[in-house]
Subunit: 474 residues, 2 copies
């Protein structure tokens, strides 16, 4: 009986184990995704365009760890701090996943006492946000950052950052776009002349930041209701934040009786004028708008801020055009490095971050819609055989090709059918097939077949590498 | 008085704040590091060599999130599970940082019902190990994985994995190396014929795995003392694990009166023989050793396992040659995907992981020792001026160059000295300087200076792009 019970218990345990297996959830964590080979191919195209641009502007590249000491991130992100991922305390240091690449960059500069660098950094960042994945919003997503650190003459690096955004968005052909520009000093000056108390600058600023998602009436009631601003001050702000334009608006505000009396606003407007002069030299003012409603949420900005948005897509191929909003943003943060330096030494910085995930979403949709066939490998030739028992010959030949730097594949079968080998080439886009057979081996040749045209030609074995290179160059 | 007290309290708070600032620890988390532009330049060289090889073998590329559901990693790593980083429970799913790229790959296959793929994946993984950073051991480190999944004829993909390791290590010119090969089935068969009870196979296997770091005597006493193996069984194992060789050894063991009676061992030895035949066709048996002491710690291996080690460096440039040990490893894991599939459907896999961090350490040391100057940017030309008040002209010219795809920089100063501009080129390795001056502007030319030779030539503005391209091509 004991034996039988033991058997039954064992069977039950097994069943339980199987049930456990079935309940196992097979998914990636909320707000994250895998990239398939096809998605990676699109992603690499975009990265290439961006990296090429960063390198064109003379940037070096750095990398930092995916997590930082928790205290490194503390006090840098204002109201967004609640979105930071913390690691479990498993003994040792308290760690958090990076929230952006800017704070790690500032930590890197202070730690290594670097006062002068132009660098890019492409890496994933983490935010416990509510993901809206159809619009390209994830909890794990790439940022592509370009920053210029150092004490320089005003607005020259700032203008270069905007030029970079302009180059990248033009290059990627995402459709029409607009780069909104403002300055934290102009915002702060505006708050001051509107009668916002100093202590409320930051919180009112983050209300203004919501104007791209909410109508003014809602933002106003947040300011007055939740944040206790006087209705007069709010209405006053309301007048300013609807203004946008170019050099003409800057000139007008420089004459504004109230703003022109405010030291910060005057400084900001003066620099904005200089910026627009440089942007005129770069020939890009057509897509730049000085916009007083642009605020940007992050605490660390001190000067120019900017954000690029895509305008309504005119691409007829996309069936359901999605609102994609911001695809790049950045600004000047002259105080951040000083927060890390033991002696508070400042290193002025300005930088831009390209919102790559939204760009992916658009390009992915476009590829889907166009039915463009994207190759996910670069294989030049499949080594095949027409008869059986030629595995060894195939392996010998492919080894020669690999050693000569040819991108080559072979089916992992002892005796594959020729038809299956040709089909594999059709499916994966391999342009050439190198066929070995008894006769070819005797004659010291390989039969080279062009998949697209079905043309076949015998090539002497010693010329094969050269022939493949010639036929697949370009 | 109240006012004075408030003031004093405020001052104290400020002082307290400052003290806090001073105590702030400016570092990266334990076991992690930043990569400087110079290190990144070396890293990109290595990545390029590896990716080129993976693409030569027809691999696609995928990416997965940096964290997985905690349960995805559970029960995959045996004794190493304690080294997994968990995320803090902030509400929502329980997450862990990935420990390797193999388990996420298996999860990806099962989740997407993929039964056939050859892919590579290069990304960071995380282990709460005791870092030995001088030897290239970190808590955050890159893995470069290449895997072949699918039901194929035996040992063909396995042989290709070894060919890939051979190509990469040869390509990187790291010095002499050896690839040790064994098979889990041979190990298990060996344990069985030595009298190890079934239940102790895994734990005895992880003792054997320590043979590359410990002498046999210590491993033996761990087996007998801690793990309760009989001294006779241990001694018996001791005889086998000192064996290593090639086809001859395989043949000898196939005749071994005990091993040849064990089904698993016989299967493993048969496949090992086939593997060596393929490796002979690839011409790489010279650097392959069938080694019965190779065990590898991970639970999921089911067939062939292998590990590449660098042999004593003969490079005289390196002052203190470090023992670098393993630089690549891998094996066959036919059961892992089935652990994720609700119906337990298996997808046989074999793969290799390149231990990039140790390779970096070696190459970094070599660069240090050789005093080779590594450029960290690709800038072709600096746009400079010889006189004052030419900032606008410099910006106009550089904008033209950028738009034509030329990699160009300009100093962010209104009136930089020519000497400083030339010095900047010397420091950063920029080969050309395009100098604008009053006279050149009048004449419609730009003075192009070759930094290395100090040669100067006037180039018509409309030919400048072509001239720069020509002089920097190659």
């Amino acid at each position: 009986i004991a034996k039988e019970v033991a058997k039954l218990l064992e069977m039950k345990a097994q069943l339980g184990g199987d049930e456990g297996k079935h309940k196992f959830v097979l998914k990636t964590p909320k707000g994250t995704r895998d990239y398939s080979p096809k998605q990676m191919a699109i992603r690499e195209r975009v990265f290439n365009a961006i990296i090429t641009c960063f390198k064109r502007h003379g940037a070096e590249v750095i990398d930092t760890p995916v997590f930082e000491l928790k205290e490194t991130l503390t006090g840098k992100y204002g109201e967004d701090s609640k979105l930071i991922y913390d690691l479990k305390d498993q003994g040792g240091e308290l760690l958090s996943l990076r929230y952006d690449l800017t704070v790690p960059f500032a930590r890197y500069l202070a730690m290594n006492k670097i006062t002068n660098i132009k660098r890019y950094h492409i890496a994933k960042v983490y935010r416990r946000d509510n993901p809206a994945m159809t619009r390209g919003r994830y909890r794990e997503f790439y940022q592509c950052d370009f920053d210029i650190a150092g004490q320089f003459d005003p607005m020259i690096p700032d203008a270069e950052c905007l030029k970079i955004v302009h180059e990248i968005l033009s290059d990627l052909q995402l459709g029409d776009f607009l780069i909104k520009v403002n300055d934290r000093r102009i915002l702060d000056g505006m708050f001051a002349v509107c009668g916002v108390p100093d202590s409320k600058f930051r919180t009112i600023c983050s209300s203004v930041d919501k104007l791209d998602k909410m109508p003014w009436e809602e933002v106003r009631s947040e300011m007055v209701g939740e944040k206790g601003l006087s209705p007069e001050a709010a209405d006053h702000i309301g007048e300013y934040v609807q203004l946008h334009g170019g050099l003409d608006l800057i000139e007008r505000l420089l004459q504004d009786p109230k703003l022109s009396q405010n030291k910060l606003a005057k400084e900001g407007l003066g620099d904005m004028k200089l910026l627009f002069e440089y942007l005129t030299l770069f020939g890009i003012t057509g897509k730049i708008s000085f916009d007083l409603s642009l605020a940007r949420g992050l605490d660390y900005y001190t000067g120019v801020i900017f954000e690029a948005v895509l305008l309504q897509q005119e691409n007829d191929h996309v069936e359901e055009p999605v609102s994609v909003g911001s695809v790049a943003g950045g600004g000047r943060y002259d105080g951040l490095v000083g927060m890390f330096d033991p002696k508070g030494r400042k290193v002025p910085c300005v930088g831009v971050s390209i919102g790559i995930e939204r760009i992916f979403s658009i390009l992915e949709q476009r590829v889907e819609a166009s039915e463009e066939k994207i190759r996910t490998t670069e294989t030049q030739v499949l080594v095949a055989s027409a008869q059986k028992k030629l595995l060894e010959e195939r392996l010998k030949l492919i080894s020669e090709l690999w050693d000569a730097g040819i991108k080559a594949e072979v089916l992992y079968k002892k005796n594959p059918k020729l038809l299956n080998q040709l089909q594999y080439c059709e499916d994966t886009g391999i342009p050439l097939v190198a066929i070995v057979g008894e006769q070819e081996l005797k004659d010291g040749v390989v039969k080279l077949r062009v998949v697209a045209t079905r043309e076949e030609v015998n090539v002497r074995r010693e010329s094969l590498v050269e022939e493949i290179r010639m036929r697949t160059s370009q």
